[in-house]
């Protein structure tokens, strides 16, 4: 299993080399910014390609991802994956966890387990999957299942860059955990080429509120 960790970057590397060598012209970059209604950049927003231009075939990507459980927390808290990815939920705590999701996108349950006993879960449908632990109410993670492998996470300033896009007309969308704007309503058409325009998404964010279950002491934390 540990070999997989090294296998994934290696494959990515090989893929990059192949792309660079075989198609130097293919590699449009689309960048832009996600801002809130107050005009400030929104971090941790995910901008992704909703629909590919006709004829563009997405490159093969890793079919596996990991959402770890460390110190009774899902790590990472937000995991974007491409549809079809199987996600492993290893438990690196000394206690058991009971990972579940009731989301429409993917509903599953991994009854009490430790270490890497649990089978991976395949997320084959794009959408938001909220993951929790039955015995620790405060544990909350999100797996964002994306339709294509082209996506970017905004930095602190709300900046994002989608790289290596084969030229063409793309449909972009934006998602954020606190966004009050539905993903479908963020959809924008973008022509990706050498002079791709700057793309701007404006999201209205709900005020982050403490998770109800986080009130009070967090057990042994």
């Amino acid at each position: 299993m540990h070999q997989q960790k090294f296998l994934f970057p290696f494959l990515l590397f090989l893929l990059g080399v192949a792309l660079l060598t075989t198609s130097p012209a293919a590699g449009a970059t689309v960048s832009g910014r996600v801002v809130g209604s107050d005009g400030k950049g929104v971090a941790q927003a995910i901008v992704f390609v909703q629909a590919l231009p006709p004829g563009v075939t997405p490159p093969p990507v890793s079919q596996s991802a990991i959402m770890d459980q460390v110190n009774k927390t899902f790590v990472p808290g937000l995991l974007p994956v491409v549809a079809g990815t199987e996600v492993h939920f290893p438990n690196h705590d000394q206690i058991q966890h009971h990972v579940y999701s009731f989301s429409r996108t993917k509903s599953f349950e991994l009854p009490l387990y430790k270490g890497e006993e649990a089978s991976p879960v395949v997320f084959d449908k794009a959408g938001v999957v909220k993951v929790g632990c039955n015995i620790h109410d405060w544990m909350s993670g999100i797996i964002l299942v994306l339709p294509t492998p082209y996506y970017a996470v905004t930095d602190e300033g709300g900046q994002f860059t989608l790289q290596d896009l084969p030229p063409g007309a793309y449909t972009l969308a934006c998602w954020h955990a606190l966004s009050q704007v539905k993903v479908e309503e963020t959809v924008q058409q973008v022509q990706a080429d050498e002079n791709s325009p700057e793309v701007k998404f404006t999201l209205s964010l709900a005020t982050a509120r403490p998770h109800p279950a986080i009130r009070g002491a967090r057990g042994d934390r």
Binding site: S107, V131, G132, P212
Partner: protein, 592 residues
């Protein structure tokens, strides 16, 4: 004159006493009623306010219980699976599951909604799934905050206390709404807990009440809420009537999500609370009536105690006025009444003795004589004693009386006798009787002096002297001039009370009396004014100037009587021979 002035003292005391007791009793009762009703009102009001607070507390407690139950239920993983958006339960199964949960925690209402507030299951199957209840409190607030919220609200005309809690999976995947109906049973439970009647109502509707159906119909006919309820401010008490019973009532505002404010009408029977006082009032009235009767009896006794002796005094006074001086009061007390009675008795005794003296001696008794008689120094039973008897007569009275009209005659006579009495009393003699134009005077009875003969002669000389002045006045008035003759004799007589009881008088009996009278008769023959017997003359002592003497035959006496004319008296002053002596000389004695 007013009734009060006319009425008797006893009636006055009686009335005043009764009125006072009545006023005091009523005042005490009125004051007690005022104080007690104030206190009862204050106590009831406090109890009602406490009840109001208890309600708030109980409702809050119920809300907390609901919230806890709901939170526990919402944390149940199995429930989460049921509620989860991905769950594939069909609506009937969901409703059945909801009913199961409802029965598990024993609440009146249990709803499951999705994360947007759309109903998925109603345990009571009253609302169809798919209905949005997102605007209903407290779900609306829970949707906003994502936290458990509670509220009192009306659902289809029924009052519910609801709690809405989010179901987390791990984010909000739905809501659980639990509710307890605020109904008659709850109101009755509250009444049991607090002792106050409870009604939950708004301006628009009566929701629940602890009243029985009959009372409820009386208070709220056809569920109609009387407008007067809203006249008072919340948290201030008012008195509401139900049939013949009064209820102290308080409107306690209850926070609720209703179109019009919700109140708990808390009521306690004012009359029941006052019942002990009413009982007390009955007792007070009973005791008061008894006290009034007792006080009346006492006042009658007291009034009698005061007025009976006074009445006796009044009666006795009437007797005294009628001349019955033997009248006495028998009052055995040491107070003012006793003093009054004693004073009256003393007064009556004084009057009686005075009358006795008057009866016995006539009006002309000197103070000393009266004193001696009253002190009992003079035995009135009869005794032999030596007295000097003076007879006086007006010369030629018959011719004078013929010349004068009767009124004038009496006026002159009275003027004369006034002088006679003055002269006699000056020497402590007693005018025993007036005999038309003359007088009989005693010296030595009833009070004896060492020098009674001298006193008698001085009195005679005094009469003669005073007559000179009187004649001077009579002359000025063109009246008749009076001349008199006086005879004096001294001898042993029997003195004492003479006559039947009703006409008893002090008198002397004996030959010397007759002799004195004879001597007076002799003055005509001797052309003398004042003749005394030799016996008297022998007892005169110094200072007297004697004139002629004679031995005259007297009727009924074998021996002639020796008489001496007295001309004047000059007191003997041994130390001062130089001073010219005052000489009592009868003018008439010097005339002839």
């Amino acid at each position: 004159m007013s009734w009060w002035a006319r009425s008797r003292l006893r009636s006055k005391i009686f009335c005043a006493f009764s009125a006072l007791i009545l006023v005091v009793s009523l005042a005490v009762l009125g004051f007690t009623q005022f104080i007690v009703s104030q206190q009862v009102q204050a106590t009831l009001r406090q109890e009602l306010l406490t009840t109001g607070q208890v309600f708030q507390g109980l409702l809050q407690e119920q809300a907390e219980r609901l919230r806890t139950n709901a939170a526990l239920l919402a944390g149940d993983f199995a429930l989460k699976k049921v509620v989860a958006p991905a769950s594939d339960y069909d609506p009937e199964t969901l409703a059945s599951a909801a009913l199961n949960y409802q029965q598990r925690i024993g609440v009146d209402l249990l709803w499951m909604t999705d994360e947007n507030g759309t109903l998925r299951a109603d345990a009571n199957a009253k609302k169809t799934s798919g209905t949005s209840v997102a605007t209903l409190s407290p779900l609306a607030e829970a949707l906003q905050s994502g936290e458990a919220t509670t509220a009192i609200t009306a659902i289809e005309g029924k009052l519910f206390q609801l709690v809405a809690v989010p179901v987390l999976g791990p984010d909000v995947i739905g809501f659980l709404v639990l509710g307890e109906e605020i109904n008659d049973a709850l109101a009755q439970q509250l009444e049991k807990d607090t002792g106050s009647r409870v009604t939950f109502l708004s301006h628009a509707q009566l929701f629940a009440a602890s009243w029985g159906p009959l009372d409820r119909e009386r208070l709220f006919p056809d569920g109609h809420i009387p407008a007067m309820l809203w006249d008072s401010q919340p948290n201030t008490t008012m008195l509401l009537h139900l049939a013949s019973e009064r209820f102290l009532s308080l409107l306690v505002p209850i926070a609720a999500h209703l179109p019009t404010p919700l109140f708990a009408l808390v009521q306690r029977s004012y009359d029941t609370a006052l019942a002990p006082f009413y009982d007390l009032r009955r007792r007070i009235l009973g005791v008061g009536a008894g006290a009034i009767l007792l006080a009346l009896a006492v006042s009658i006794g007291l009034a009698n105690g005061i007025t009976t002796p006074i009445q006796g005094l009044v009666t006795s006074m009437h007797e005294i006025l009628r001349g019955n001086f033997q009248q006495r009061l028998r009052v055995n007390r040491q107070d003012e009444i006793g003093f009054l009675a004693d004073s009256f008795n003393e007064m009556a005794a004084g009057l009686e003795k005075g009358e006795q003296i008057k009866d016995t001696f006539g009006r002309f008794v000197s103070h000393d004589v009266a004193e001696a008689v009253l002190n009992g120094h003079i035995p009135l039973a009869g005794e032999r004693r030596e007295v000097t008897i003076l007879f006086q007569d007006i010369r030629g009275f018959t011719s004078i009386s013929e010349k004068l009209d009767p009124a004038e005659l009496l006026r002159v006579l009275n003027q004369f006798f006034t002088e006679v009495v003055a002269a006699v009393e000056a020497e402590d003699g007693v005018v025993k009787q007036f005999t038309g134009d003359g007088a009989m005077v005693l010296f030595g009875a009833p009070v004896a002096h060492d020098d009674d003969p001298a006193r008698a002669v001085r009195a005679a000389l005094g009469i003669v002297h005073r007559l000179a002045s009187l004649n001077a006045r009579l002359r000025a008035q063109n009246g008749p001039l009076l001349r008199i003759g006086v005879g004096i004799h001294t001898g042993e007589v029997v003195a004492g009370r003479i006559g039947p009881d009703e006409r008893v008088e002090y008198g002397v009996v004996g030959d010397p009396v007759n002799l004195a009278s004879r001597i007076e008769g002799l003055t005509k023959e001797m052309q003398a004014t004042l003749l005394v017997s030799q016996i008297t003359a022998a007892k005169l002592g110094p200072g007297f100037t004697l004139g002629r003497s004679a031995a005259l035959a007297v009727k009924g006496k074998e021996k002639p009587i020796e008489v001496v004319e007295v001309l004047a008296y000059e007191p003997v002053v041994e130390e001062s021979h130089d001073e010219s002596p005052s000489l009592i000389v009868s003018p008439s004695l010097t005339d002839h």
